[in-house]
Amino acid sequence: MSHAFELKQAAVSYNGTAAVHGIDLTIATDEAVAVVGPSGAGKTTLLRLLNGTVRSTGGHIAVLGRSLREMPPRELRGVRARIGFIHQDLSLVPNLRVIQNVLSGRVGDQGFFGSLRHVFFPPRDAVHEVHRILERVGIPEKLYERTDTLSGGQRQRVAIARALYQEPEALLADEPVSSVDPARARDTVALLTDVCRERGLALCMSLHNLDLAREFFPRLIGMRSGQIRFDQPTAKLTDGDFEALYNLERDEMLKA
């Protein structure tokens, strides 16, 4: 298996309106890809297609070598457990401690009682593992802090730690840096690309910040109006390509 994700003519429509359509895309198991494009282009829908949290309305989708079409719920849960997803709003439980939020990353592989014990009475090696991961993302001293006492940047690290603790084979991130200042945004993107390289994970991230996308990702996908407009090595893309991607017609601008 050499592809983490493989989409052929994939499409999604909500109540009859196409969100994305005609998507052909393959991402290798150790590749880092950024998705760029204007608001409403379908970037989030594309990412959610990749971890099987939105139902495709056409085409073929294979994740980690397995076709998602008509996959039974239990197997789909298994596939989702092998893909980390960092949400735009981070989706952490604010009144739990950092360690509990991170430990909850692995519930996809566990039964109900097993996960309860794991999150609230974790074994020694699980605590060690969480501490190691927090060390890697730079906040080991926050292990037992309540998550809502952390700053925005630190919370982002917790979300990343939870995704890493999941031991995924691929990592998806939806606008992970849209709500932090430029310096922190750069830090976070660097951390994510570094960690994925170290661990050999596929990484697919949607980004509004073009400069970060061009600096950290060797391959860029440009989306607009639910379609892929370009899919190129970053070095081959010119400023003109980006201008064309964002240069919306007036009526498109009003729709987005």
Binding site: R124, V127, H128, H131, P140, L143, Y144, E145, T149
Partner: protein
């Protein structure tokens, strides 16, 4: 870092972890209270399953069977005949419709009064300077006057809902005599208190930006209310309205028991005549009405929610 060092570091962090003593003690006290309550002799489980209880249940189930069918094999024809004599001259239908009418009349009254009065109970509209400051600070007298308006309205609401609807009905019965009116007015009073409070809360919690903008272009209190506040609150107003209507349907049956009207009256009369089979039939009709009301209210609320 060796595993031993890591253990050390984690232990140090753990000993420094922030702890909420209040939450911990609350948990312990609650646990103790629960254990205490369930181990009291009054709540001994054996009392629920005594021999006599079992006998009571068997006797009751025997009484419930329509009288013409007691100690006889089941016969659909006989059952149909019993239904017809019990409900035949439209007693059941009239009772159900009566209860329904009672609840609708009551909730409409309550909703209307609450809608018209809730603004007086809001601290943002009933204020000397609603949403935006004026050129000079308001006099102390005006500030107090508005505060009195707010608290007086709230006090009336509290009084209306603090007294249960069946006590209201009981009091009104002595004034108005037997009939549907005591029940309607009792339900209306109690629900005005509840809806008024909820509506005022909704208005107070609406985002202040839009009313502020309207105030900034010269709108008066009533203009802000009709143009911005009521439309913005409409969805939640309707949700609360239908939610209270559900309870009104239920309460209308109970209030009928006071001799007023509808299903309650029929239940009372059947009880007076020792006709247990009819009591059960009317109770079942009442629950059918409540289920129907529940469905209508759920549909209406989901339509309102989707339309938003």
């Amino acid at each position: 870092m060796t595993p031993v060092d890591r253990d050390e570091a984690i232990r140090a962090l753990r000993s420094r972890r922030p702890r909420n003593r209040f939450a911990r003690w609350t948990g312990i006290v609650l646990l103790a209270l629960t254990a205490f309550a369930w181990t009291r002799p009054e709540l001994e489980l054996g009392k629920l399953f005594r021999q006599r209880t079992k006998a009571n249940v068997t006797r009751f189930l025997g009484e419930v069977r329509p009288y013409p069918l007691q100690e006889q094999p089941w016969d659909g024809g006989v059952f149909g005949g019993w239904l017809e004599t019990t409900l035949g001259d439209g007693v059941g239908r009239r009772a159900v419709l009566g209860t329904l009418a009672l609840s609708v009349a009551a909730i409409c009254l309550a909703g209307l009064i609450a809608l018209l009065t809730c603004l007086f109970a809001t601290r943002n509209v009933a204020h000397p300077e609603p949403f935006l400051p004026g050129a000079s600070p308001p006099t102390r007298w005006r500030t107090y006057a508005w505060r009195v308006v707010v608290w007086a309205t709230r006090l009336v609401y509290i009084f209306a809902r603090a007294i249960p609807e069946w006590i209201w009905a009981f009091l009104l019965l002595t004034l108005l005599g037997l009939g549907a009116w005591p029940a309607v007015i009792a339900l209306a009073i109690h629900n005005t208190g509840i809806l008024g409070r909820l509506y005022a809360e909704v208005i107070e919690n609406l985002p202040a930006r839009t009313p502020r903008a309207l105030r900034a272009l010269g709108a008066s209190r009533t203009q802000i209310a009709t143009v911005a506040l009521y439309p913005a609150a409409q969805g939640r107003f309707l949700l609360y309205f239908f939610y209270r209507w559900e309870t009104c349907v239920r309460e209308a049956t109970v209030l009928g028991l006071l001799g007023a009207a509808g299903l309650g009256k029929e239940i009372l009369q059947a009880g007076a005549g020792d006709r247990h089979d009819e009591i059960v039939l009317f109770v079942l009709l009442g629950s059918a009405l409540i289920i129907a009301g529940d469905v209508v209210s759920a549909v209406a609320r989901s339509v309102v929610r989707r339309a938003r």
